[in-house]
Assembly symmetry: C2
Homo-oligomer: 164 residues x 2
DNA sequence: GCCAATTGCTTGAAGCCTAAAGAAATGCAA
DNA sequence: TTGCATTTCTTTAGGCTTCAAGCAATTGGC
């Protein structure tokens, strides 16, 4: 911050190029890996990434979740979840019922077949990920985890500021 | 690697949980930031992220690029670019002409208005990114850059292995 | 020159995704 | 109780995205 001739605060255009380059690199990495995973899921299991992700959320919670829960966890819109769930119920992977205590709420769970199918996919998926990251040492992995956690915190803070 | 009683190589199920957690964190970070940027672009400039990205590619190359170039750089499909370009030409941001030397090729460039509009958006965009990453020290940024470069290399190697 | 393979782009079908508006159910306060 | 705000989900319109198939132009081998 500097002051001009009439003692008014003036912002100098700062250099934010490094952050921008970092963001682009982060995006490139993610896009690259996401594309790779998407392609393999399609090839091996004929399943889309969003469906896999949704099933992954449900696998963690056997008693099921509401659509809103899924929406928050996957960081996608409500309407999006509605459609995804529709198709997964249709294909027999998901079970859906209205809550007993609140008739607005839909609780979804993996069916037995859906769970079996997901487990089969997840096991292989994990080896793909390991292969994709195989050049990184355990120390690299730890360090990346730490820095990404810090990044996430920073981004959330920034998002919160805007939301007000 | 261990050997079984008949001296055959046997793979033990290894633990790949750390890599998986790393991937999920990477994805979360990117999704979070991407959503934030998308929202701000829409609010402030009523533009979508893909359009902004496409214009960013073109801003770097005043003489223009072919659709294939754009497709490779943005890491999206050809058909996707066709549609994006169509809408941006329609809105007057892009200029499109058939190559003189190869009539299959379409060369696209920013129009004068398109360039001005992009520069206006890009300046503000850069400050958003700086704010989003503001908790990271310069050292953090350097370290993240390094580790993501390594990650990208590793992912590319893995992708190449599969593509054969 | 001719033909086959390749390259650059478009099209079509299907699915993903968002924002915004709306319907239904709930909760809360007067 | 009534009325209003809120929550949960769905719907709609529009755009993004992929894959696969197809068309047109070019290139390279003969």
């Amino acid at each position: 911050m500097i002051l001009d001739s009439e003692t008014k605060a003036v912002e100098l255009p700062e250099d934010h190029g490094d952050e921008l380059r970092l963001w682009l690199r982060l995006l490139t990495c993610t896009t690259l890996i996401e594309g790779e995973v998407r392609g393999r899921l399609r090839e091996r299991f004929d399943v889309t990434l969003p469906r896999f992700d949704l099933m992954a959320q449900l696998d963690k919670v056997p008693e099921g979740m509401t659509l809103s829960d899924v929406s928050k966890r996957m960081m996608v819109s409500n309407g999006n979840v509605t459609g995804l769930v529709e198709r997964l119920v249709e294909s027999g992977h998901l079970d859906r019922r209205t809550s007993d205590t609140d008739r607005r709420v839909q609780v979804i769970r993996l069916t037995k077949a859906g769970r079996a199918e997901f487990r089969r996919m997840a096991a292989e998926h994990q080896t793909w990920i390991a292969d994709i990251f195989s050049d990184l040492s355990p120390k690299d992995v730890r360090e990346l985890m730490r820095l990404l956690a810090k990044t996430k915190g920073s981004a959330q803070k920034s998002a919160q500021k805007r939301a007000r």
